[in-house]
Structures are given as structure tokens and as C-alpha cells.
């Protein structure tokens, strides 16, 4: 199978756009409603961008495309993200 990694590997790319570490944040999956740390999502990197899927139901939680001078981020599969101050 295509190997997936943990949401931990998103930390580098997300740190360029968020002030705090988002991988430690919990998010709610828009597919199954499960709430879990972004770090526990399944991340597929062998793709045109990074794809984070819910470890519970496989729903695409987030995508991140590195467009050189821009980063295009989708959090469309997360109904909410809890960020610590």
C-alpha cells in the first residue's frame, strides 16, 4: 500500500502559516465526528500535495499544496479545530 505517515509530519509546512503548532491541536472530522489531534491523522505525502485523512473514517480532513511563493491550505474536512493559546 501507499504508506501514510502521522499528522506530525505536517508540522513543518503548517508552521509557516500558523503561529502555534497546529499538529497538537484537536480537530473534529466532518465525516464521522471523531475528535482527535491533527498529529494522529493519516498523512499521504506521495501526491501533488499533502493529504491528511481521518484515522477513523478516511475522510479527507485537510490538504496542503506548496505553490512555491504560496501555500494553499484546505481544512474543509474539519468542522472545528481547537487551538491552545
Amino acid at each position: 500500500m501507499t504508506h501514510h505517515l502521522d499528522g506530525n509530519v505536517l508540522a513543518g509546512a503548517l508552521s509557516e502559516v500558523f503561529a502555534s503548532d497546529v499538529t497538537a491541536a484537536r480537530g473534529r472530522c466532518a465525516g464521522c465526528g471523531q475528535t482527535s489531534p491533527i498529529a494522529e491523522a493519516m498523512v499521504y505525502t506521495d501526491a501533488p500535495g499533502l493529504v491528511a485523512r481521518c484515522a477513523g473514517c478516511d475522510q479527507v480532513l485537510a490538504t496542503l499544496v506548496d505553490a512555491g511563493d504560496r501555500v494553499i491550505l484546505s481544512l474543509a474536512g474539519l468542522t472545528a479545530v481547537e487551538l491552545r493559546r
Binding site: P48, R53, T63, S74
Partner: protein, 167 residues
């Protein structure tokens, strides 16, 4: 280069291509029926969006002209669907006139699952993310709706000569 989830494992005995036309009617081909349309040798250059190109790569596949031969459509766009849920949008004219194939072999052997087997789209004049792996269906669309990566940042068309990578 195009996977966005677990690699689907599809046996050719279970494989099926479904082409949904603008009336919603489905045209279906089993693996053997697809091959019976005629498999041809194709040698083309491919261009990956991550800056590499591979020249003179040898493939074998079925021309999409054969697949669309008996399908009447006023719709000008196609959404390709993959086993595993991935989609990509392509104008119909980019799939016809000898410009695109359903590839079943590369470099002299069957396409393995990691490379999109048993069958993938091969649209060499567009960036390679448009050449959907694990092809299972083609749906005619009236509008150029974005596919998976096109929703998430990639270019709606993807011409490598114009470097149409991102939005």
C-alpha cells in the same frame, strides 16, 4: 505521484469502466471488453508537476477515441473518477483525436497498483496529475467543475508548456 490515500488493489476480473453520458446513462466495459477495443503502443513524454519530465516513455493502452466512439454528448467536460475516490477534470477535446489513452502497460509490463494499475488515464500533453491512476469512471459534465487537486490548489487545466501548476 498522484495518490491521495491508500493504494487501491483492483483485480482485472473485478475491474470495470463506467462512462456516464449527459443523459445519465451508463456505458460499461469489463477488462476484456476494454482490451477488445484495441490496444496500441504509445511512446510519449510525461511532465510531472514537481518539475521532472520523462521523455519517450513507452506505454500500451486503449485510445479514448475508441471509448467515446458510440457516446453522443453535447457536454464539453469530463470528470475522471478513480478507485479510491480521487477525481480530476479534463475538457473532452483533450481526451479525443489521439491525445489520450487508458493505459494498461508501461515500460513493457502491466501497470502495478503503485503506478495506477490495472488501468490509468494517460493524457501526456497535460501535467501528470491529470493522468488519473486507478481509473474506474468517466462522467460527462456541462461545466468544467474542479476535481480533487483542482479544488485544493492545482490549476483547472494544467498545461505544462504554460507552467499551469497552481490556481
Amino acid at each position: 505521484m498522484l495518490s491521495a490515500g491508500p493504494t487501491p488493489r483492483v483485480d482485472t476480473a473485478d475491474w470495470e469502466l463506467v462512462l456516464r453520458d449527459e443523459t445519465g446513462a451508463d456505458h460499461r466495459w469489463s477488462w476484456d471488453e476494454l482490451l477488445a477495443l484495441g490496444v496500441e503502443d504509445v511512446t510519449v513524454d510525461i511532465h510531472c508537476v514537481t518539475h521532472w519530465s520523462r521523455l519517450d516513455m513507452s506505454w500500451r493502452g486503449v485510445s479514448l477515441d475508441k471509448v467515446f466512439e458510440d457516446v453522443e454528448s453535447e457536454h464539453e467536460f469530463v470528470m475522471a473518477h478513480s478507485y479510491g475516490g480521487y477525481t480530476t477534470n479534463i475538457p473532452l477535446e483533450d481526451l479525443l483525436d489521439g491525445k489520450a489513452w487508458i493505459a494498461i502497460e508501461a515500460d513493457g509490463g502491466p501497470l502495478d497498483p503503485e503506478h495506477g494499475g490495472p488501468a490509468r488515464l494517460l493524457v501526456p500533453h497535460l501535467y501528470f496529475w491529470k493522468s488519473a491512476k486507478w481509473l474506474r469512471g468517466l462522467t460527462m459534465m456541462p461545466d468544467n467543475d474542479p476535481g480533487f487537486w483542482e479544488q485544493y490548489g492545482y490549476h483547472l487545466y494544467g498545461d505544462p508548456w504554460k507552467e499551469e501548476r497552481y490556481w
